[in-house]
Structures are given as structure tokens and as C-alpha cells.
């Protein structure tokens, strides 16, 4: 720990940013520069702010965030790959008074889990879903996801994704917005401070909607996976701005709260 400035006592200082109370000291297992960590912290901050640490049950997927249970001091259920929305539905139906969130990667939410994702949305299930779109499969080694951009090289699209063979980057949020079930669908990013603040507001809103029994909220968040993109973390931020965001524009898609 750096201690160059010693003349000010900590108690005179205001903590501007640090570890949320609902999270603990265990180190993330994410790669350097991975945005999952930022998003995790924002969720922790939101839980703190809303004072729902003891009321919250999280479910996190198989994927790089499989260890979420280690980092949060809340109840966590670790479901099968792709089934997070279904498991969250089960928890919520059993405990309708608790706050239930589903944390899902794009492979999880938009590929293997599409069926469960679509129908939780269509039912207007009163849960909060975080959908982390890093345009590929992180954990398993950088394979194509349905969200992969056209031309993007992944380990299963070595020549770049071709629409003819593998279809198009799937816009889950826009697609689900076409259903009558969802209350709030937004796409956010966390690559800089304004985006982080906006994402935080969206996360808080997603939880509030649930607490106020307004129904299904989906917060899609564009996320960097530097290691599998083959970019350093700062370049990865640039890629989101220049490429990913043009296919997946940021902003609220529906807000029927």
C-alpha cells in the first residue's frame, strides 16, 4: 500500500471510491483489464445504496463470473450454464419478497440460455437481469458468441465471423424489447467514467423496479475481454467505442416503469 501522503489522517478524508460493503476482500479471478470487475463493483455499490444486502439473492452463471459467490457477502446460487434466468425465476417465485438478480454472460444469456432468457422476459418476471456482452465466450477460450461482430476473429471463427455461415450479431435487447413482458431494457457500457455512472444508474433502476414490483429489467452492459480480443486493456476500450458500440448502440431501449 502506498503511503506517500501520511500527513492527513484517514478519518478526515472522504472515501470517494473503494470496495462496497456488500463485497469482501477476495480478489477477482478476472483477467487484467476485464470489465466484469467494474460491473461487479457497481452491483455491489447499488446493493449498498439500496440497503438490500440482506434481502438480495444473486445467481451468477458458468462463465468468467462463476466465482461471483466468493466476492459478494450475499446469498448466491450458482446455476447451470444458460439457466440463470430460469433459476432466478424459481427463486423469485419461491421468495417473491426478496430481490433476485441474474448475472449472465452473452454465451449464457444469448446462446445456450436464449429460451429461458426470452421467456423470463416475456413473463415479465419480476427480476433484475445483468447481461454482460463481451462479444464472445470468455471462460472457454474466446469462441464466437451470437453477439460476435461480423468479421471478428475468435477461436471458432478464425477467418472472422461470416454472416452467411454463422449469422448476425444478435441484438437481444432490441429483440426482447419487442415483447410485452419487459419493463425496462437498456444497454450500457463501463469503459469510462460517464458510462460507468450511467451504468450505475441503470443498475440501481433495475433493482428499484423489482423492489417496486414493476417487473422485468434487463441491463445489457458492453464489456471488454482484452485477453480474448488480443488487445491490451486500453485498446480494448477503444474497440468498444469504435466497433462494438456502433453495432450495439447505448441507451435505454424501453422504459415502461
Amino acid at each position: 500500500m502506498s503511503d506517500k501522503v501520511t500527513s492527513v489522517k484517514k478519518k478526515d478524508m472522504t472515501k470517494v471510491v473503494g470496495r462496497p460493503d456488500s463485497m469482501n476482500d477476495t480478489q477477482f479471478s478476472y483477467c487484467p483489464g476485464c470489465h466484469h470487475g467494474i460491473i461487479n463493483r457497481l452491483i455491489g455499490e447499488a446493493i449498498d445504496e439500496l440497503g438490500i444486502q440482506e434481502e438480495t439473492i444473486g445467481t451468477a452463471p458458468v462463465g468468467c463470473s462463476v466465482f461471483l459467490y466468493k466476492w459478494f457477502d450475499i446469498d448466491v446460487v450458482q446455476p447451470p450454464h444458460g439457466r440463470v434466468s430460469a433459476v432466478a425465476t424459481g427463486i423469485k417465485r419461491a421468495k417473491p419478497k426478496k430481490t433476485v438478480f441474474a448475472y449472465q454472460g452473452d454465451g449464457d444469456f444469448a446462446s445456450i440460455g436464449t429460451n429461458n432468457s426470452v421467456h423470463a422476459a416475456n413473463r415479465g418476471e419480476n427480476i433484475t437481469v445483468f447481461f454482460i456482452n463481451n462479444t464472445l465466450y470468455g471462460m472457454t477460450g474466446g469462441e464466437m458468441a451470437p453477439t460476435t461482430l461480423i468479421g471478428q476473429k475468435t477461436t471458432t471463427t478464425p477467418g472472422g465471423r461470416k454472416a452467411k455461415d454463422f449469422g448476425y450479431p444478435i441484438k437481444m435487447s432490441e429483440m426482447l424489447a419487442r415483447l410485452d413482458g419487459p419493463t425496462y431494457i437498456t444497454r450500457q457500457a463501463v469503459y469510462d467514467v460517464p458510462r460507468i455512472k450511467s451504468a450505475k444508474r441503470a443498475i440501481v433502476k433495475g433493482f428499484k423496479n423489482q423492489i417496486e414490483e414493476k417487473g422485468y429489467s434487463l441491463i445489457e452492459i458492453l464489456s471488454a475481454c482484452p485477453i480474448n480480443w488480443g488487445l491490451d486493456p486500453v485498446e480494448a476500450v477503444e474497440r468498444i467505442k469504435s466497433e462494438v458500440e456502433t453495432v450495439y448502440p447505448l441507451g435505454d431501449i424501453i422504459d415502461r416503469g
Binding site: 492527513v8 471510491v17 470496495r19 483477467c31 487484467p32 476485464c34 469510462d192 460507468i196
Partner: protein, 76 residues
């Protein structure tokens, strides 16, 4: 004037450099040292410049930074 302090948890830092990039005042820099995971962690290189905006802490994916702000006159 508002000033800031950044505590770096060098064992948590993975040397991704996002904080360095985010800092408007060039306060942070790589330390050149490696932590026990082999990462070149950052250090609070130019404390005098820090305005306590918290940007670095906000972009840090590993909660390696705790940022405090305080009033300048308190500095000895």
C-alpha cells in the same frame, strides 16, 4: 482546494493500466515492480497532482484502488 489520496492495494492490482489512462492528472504510473502474481502494479506516483476525483478507482476492474478526498489546507 480539493485534494485526493489513492491507496493502491498492490497485491490486487493486475497492471491493466486503465486507471493510468483514466486519470486526468497523470497521477498514477506503473511501479516497475511485480507483485506475487507477477503483475507490474501501479503506484500513486504524483500525489501532489491528485484532485480526488476518483476516476481511477471507478475504472479499476479489481477494486485495487481506494480513493479519498480532503481539503488541501489539511496537508502539512
Amino acid at each position: 482546494m480539493l485534494r485526493g489520496q489513492v491507496d493502491v492495494d498492490s497485491e490486487r492490482c493486475k497492471g491493466c493500466g486503465l486507471c493510468i489512462d483514466a486519470c486526468p492528472k497523470d497521477v498514477l504510473d506503473f511501479s516497475g515492480d511485480f507483485n506475487s502474481d507477477g503483475y507490474n502494479y501501479v503506484e500513486f506516483a504524483n500525489p501532489e497532482e491528485c484532485v480526488g476525483c476518483g476516476f481511477c478507482g471507478m475504472v479499476c476492474p479489481d477494486m485495487a484502488l481506494t480513493v479519498y478526498s480532503f481539503e488541501e489546507e489539511e496537508v502539512s
